[in-house]
């Protein structure tokens, strides 16, 4: 019997030799039909986890078993950053290089680790935000999260690596992920009764649930704020009898970690939300798409899903399958996520058709963020008017904000929609905040005089990810970090994003160099124009917003370079 490749802290960080029997057994343990073409990506993820790589011979074997060509498997490996075709080092250390890690000095740690470990069997890399900005500096070691790294404990870590110590022998506290809610609210503190909302939904039926959701005014909490009831109804109205519910747990927005909390602490509510959505639209299958960075949550989520099945609340009419991403931010875009779920590269598709009309495998599909589903569960149990008790007319309810950066208590804060930024800053101990990046890199940069801005869907400061910076931080560094992030995460499908994100970084290089006033002005004009070009002509939201950090800088950052 093969050990589950997702076993938390595996006994050894060495990987077994490639073995087709072991591979087949491992894949079959994960899924009854692992060789279906649409499982190709998942099988690669599982093999990567089991053998530490997806080498060409492994790809050839999977191709022969699945009928997916080696070239297609190669194209997946070349797209997803966490799939590695080369033999694994004994230790693979990936530092998050989000701006929060950067202001905490991750670059020094990377240099230090590279210098100390240059002759060790260890690969030192950086990766985009891994959802641990509340515990900087964070890294992944062989897929496991390590938090609160600093200049002193990095030495200890390097020594453990040099001594070849297995991860089990490392200090347990390094792996601690704290999911404290610093300021609870309705969604995170109500007396949840498991299955009650679902029972009500089942009893009242589809139309009642849809009307109920309508009455709640819930809007998608993944960022776009699209009315959830409208999304569900569109899917429900489609004639196709096969429909899917998908949960977007590809929490890649730099500075966000609320899904990490919900999936760890309120897992039941996420699952129940999906089951309620299934009742509302008439779906019999759900997929939970978890980002590869959250590999360490798999075991727990699987266990909770199993409990639901054992109680008969899942499995009969509706079941949920967990699938993993593999290091691609763009897969948080709903249509890219659906492509990824179907085993392809995460390239966003053209809209229309919308997922509600033609989504996963061409079937009507609901795509909801983790927190939206938690809110749906809340609404079904507590009622839509209870949900509306807080928040604003157009942005009802509350949401969790992931707060990171220069404050005394980084972490999770649930606030009513519409609460001003300054309330959040007061709660988290950020009195000397100079500016706040709200809503992630593509969100709004708010300066001190804008801290009365409400956090809701009607305002520039939508919240969700709230990164706080004090006066010592360079807005230029923040801009560069975000712009590099978008270049790295562009899927490469459309011209303005694929080439524009690179050109934007070239322009920033230019802007940095000493030059004539004329050229400086030209570069500035070029940056504004390129931002607008990307905004207007890009294929998806990533490209449309990838230039905004630069625009924020030019509008707000003058004098703070």
């Amino acid at each position: 019997m093969a050990e589950s490749p997702f076993e938390w802290l595996r006994a050894k960080s060495d990987f077994p030799e490639w073995d087709t029997d072991l591979a087949e057994q491992t894949l079959l343990n994960q899924h009854p039909a692992p060789f279906r073409p649409e499982r190709a990506l998942q099988s690669l993820v599982v093999l990567q986890q089991q053998f530490g790589q997806v080498s060409p011979p492994m790809q050839t074997w999977l191709a022969s078993k699945s009928g997916v060509t080696v070239a297609d498997l190669r194209s997946l490996v070349s797209f997803y950053q966490f799939l590695e075709p080369t033999p694994p080092p004994r230790y693979h250390l990936r530092f998050a290089n989000n701006i929060i890690e950067q202001i905490n000095g991750v670059n020094h740690l990377v240099e230090q680790a590279r210098a100390t470990l240059h002759d060790a069997d260890c690969k030192v890399e950086t990766t985009s935000c891994i959802g641990l900005s509340d515990h900087p500096i964070a890294a992944l070691i062989n897929g496991h999260p390590i938090t609160r790294l600093n200049r002193s404990n990095i030495n200890e870590l390097c020594q453990l690596i040099r001594a070849g110590k297995s991860l089990q022998e490392w200090p347990r506290r390094w792996f601690a992920v704290d999911n404290t809610i610093h300021h609870p609210g309705p969604l995170t503190s109500y007396p949840y009764a498991r299955g009650q909302g679902l029972a009500l939904a089942t009893q009242q039926g589809q139309q009642w649930v849809l009307n109920h959701m309508d009455a709640s005014g819930l809007r998608g909490l993944g960022g776009a704020g699209f009315p959830t009831a409208v999304k569900w109804r569109l899917c429900a109205e489609q004639a196709d009898p096969v429909k899917y519910i998908t949960c977007n747990a590809d929490e890649g927005e730099p500075g966000t970690f609320k899904d990490r909390f919900y999936l760890t602490v309120q897992t039941d509510q996420v699952i129940e939300g999906m089951a309620i959505a299934a009742v509302a639209v008439g779906a019999s299958k759900g997929y939970l798409y978890l980002r590869g960075e959250y590999l360490y949550l798999v075991k727990h989520i699987e266990a909770v899903l199993q409990q639901w099945r054992e109680r008969g609340q899942l499995g009969a009419g509706f079941d949920i399958e967990l699938q993993l991403g593999a290091g691609a931010y763009v897969c948080g875009e709903e249509s890219a996520m659906l492509e990824s779920l179907a085993g392809k590269r995460g390239i966003p598709t053209s809209k229309p058709p919308f997922p509600g009309q033609k989504g996963l495998f061409g079937k009507p599909t609901v795509v909801n963020n983790v927190e939206t589903l938690v809110a749906a569960t809340y609404i079904l149990q507590q009622g839509s008017s209870a949900f509306r008790l807080v928040g604003t007319e157009h942005s009802p309810g509350s949401r969790l904000h992931s707060v990171s950066g220069d404050c005394r208590r980084p972490g999770l804060y649930e606030l009513p929609q519409g609460a001003p930024v300054q309330d959040l800053l007061a709660l988290c101990g950020a009195e000397d905040a100079h500016c706040v990046q709200s809503g992630g890199p593509s969100g709004a940069l708010l300066l001190r005089h804008q801290f009365q801005t409400p956090l809701d869907f009607e305002s520039p400061g939508r919240g969700g990810s709230v990164m706080v910076f004090n006066r010592d931080r360079s807005l230029w560094d923040i801009t560069r970090n975000f712009t590099r992030f978008f270049q790295h995460e562009s899927c490469g499908f459309c011209t303005p994003c694929r080439a524009g994100t690179v050109a934007m970084n070239h322009l920033l290089d230019r802007y940095e160099q000493p030059t004539t006033a004329r050229q400086k002005a030209q570069t500035r004009a070029d940056m504004i124009e390129l931002t607008q070009l990307m905004q207007h002509t890009s294929h998806c939201g990533l490209g449309k917003t990838a230039g905004l950090p630069v625009l924020n800088f030019l509008n707000q950052g003058a004098g703070h370079e």
């Binding site: 050839t60 060509t69 080696v70 070239a71 297609d72 190669r74 194209s75 070349s78 797209f79 997803y80 950053q81 691609a328 590269r345 053209s350 229309p352 270049q487 790295h488 995460e489 562009s490 899927c491 490469g492 499908f493 459309c494 011209t495 303005p496 694929r498 080439a499 524009g500 994100t501 690179v502 050109a503 070239h506 322009l507 230019r510 070029d526 124009e529 390129l530 070009l533 207007h536 002509t537 890009s538 294929h539």
Partner: protein, 243 residues
């Protein structure tokens, strides 16, 4: 005719059939909207973004946007021409386009659109990427330096040749055309010079190994007549490519 639904493109009524995109209808009506990745015989891709048009305050790609009744679509505006020029310049900057030595020069749709949009220079710093060519096929040569990732070869190979040889791989700026063979080389596929896919590339990425430079400068496809006046063609398509 009068019963057919219509939309307005730059003030001109364009009739359309159910299921048409803006591009399909305009193309049928003989109205040119600049494009590179669109081809009337293959499913739309929507990646080059050259066909961006304005519609109800939004900028959309004409090749993926469904036509609908009473739409007011604007294509030939100063702003959109400028956007297209910049997109073309991005395409030039991100690849390695050395027109003077390129077999396709004069017959190249990328170059022709650049001429048409008045491009004189790249505007952006050239990226000078390192891209690996593939010369493994006896009759075809792949020069990835010129590839614009439009996937026309992929679509033609799948939809017309039923071979599905070409695909896109990689991510971001590393996106590249790849081939469905075990060793990843074109020479190990069933590709043939007569395939539709061998004759669909709008630039000089997929080329025959012999018979290049058949026309002198001045006698090539786009030397005299701009692309907006004759459409997206290749010199070897007998004038049927874009019809």
């Amino acid at each position: 005719m009068s019963d057919q639904p219509q939309f307005q493109l730059d003030g001109q009524p364009i009739p359309f059939q159910p299921g048409d995109t803006i591009m399909q209808a305009a193309h049928r009506a003989g109205v040119y909207i600049p494009h590179l990745c669109f081809h009337p015989q293959f499913r739309p891709h929507g990646s080059c973004r050259l066909c961006v048009v304005n519609m109800q305050g939004k900028t959309v790609s004409a090749c993926t946007q469904p036509a609908s009744i009473d739409l007011e679509v604007h294509s030939e505006t100063t702003e959109l021409r400028q956007s297209r020029l910049r997109l073309i310049q991005l395409l030039f900057a991100e690849g390695n386009h050395f027109c003077p030595s390129c077999e396709t020069s004069g017959n190249c749709q990328l170059q022709a659109l650049a001429y048409d949009l008045g491009m004189t220079h790249y505007h952006y710093d050239p990226f000078y990427p390192t891209r690996i060519p593939d010369g493994s096929h006896p009759e075809l040569f792949i020069d990835r330096d010129r590839c614009i990732q439009c996937d026309l070869c992929g679509r033609a190979s799948e939809q017309a040749d039923h071979k599905a040889i070409y695909l896109l791989a990689g991510r971001g700026q590393h996106t590249h055309v790849a081939f469905r063979s075990d060793d990843g080389e074109l020479g190990s596929t069933q590709a043939q010079a007569e395939d539709r896919a061998s004759h669909v590339c709008p630039v000089g990425c997929i080329l025959p190994k012999s018979g290049n430079y058949p026309d002198i400068a001045g006698a090539r496809l786009y030397d005299q007549i701009p692309i907006h006046a004759q459409g997206n063609h290749r010199r070897d398509d007998g004038g049927t490519h874009d019809d």
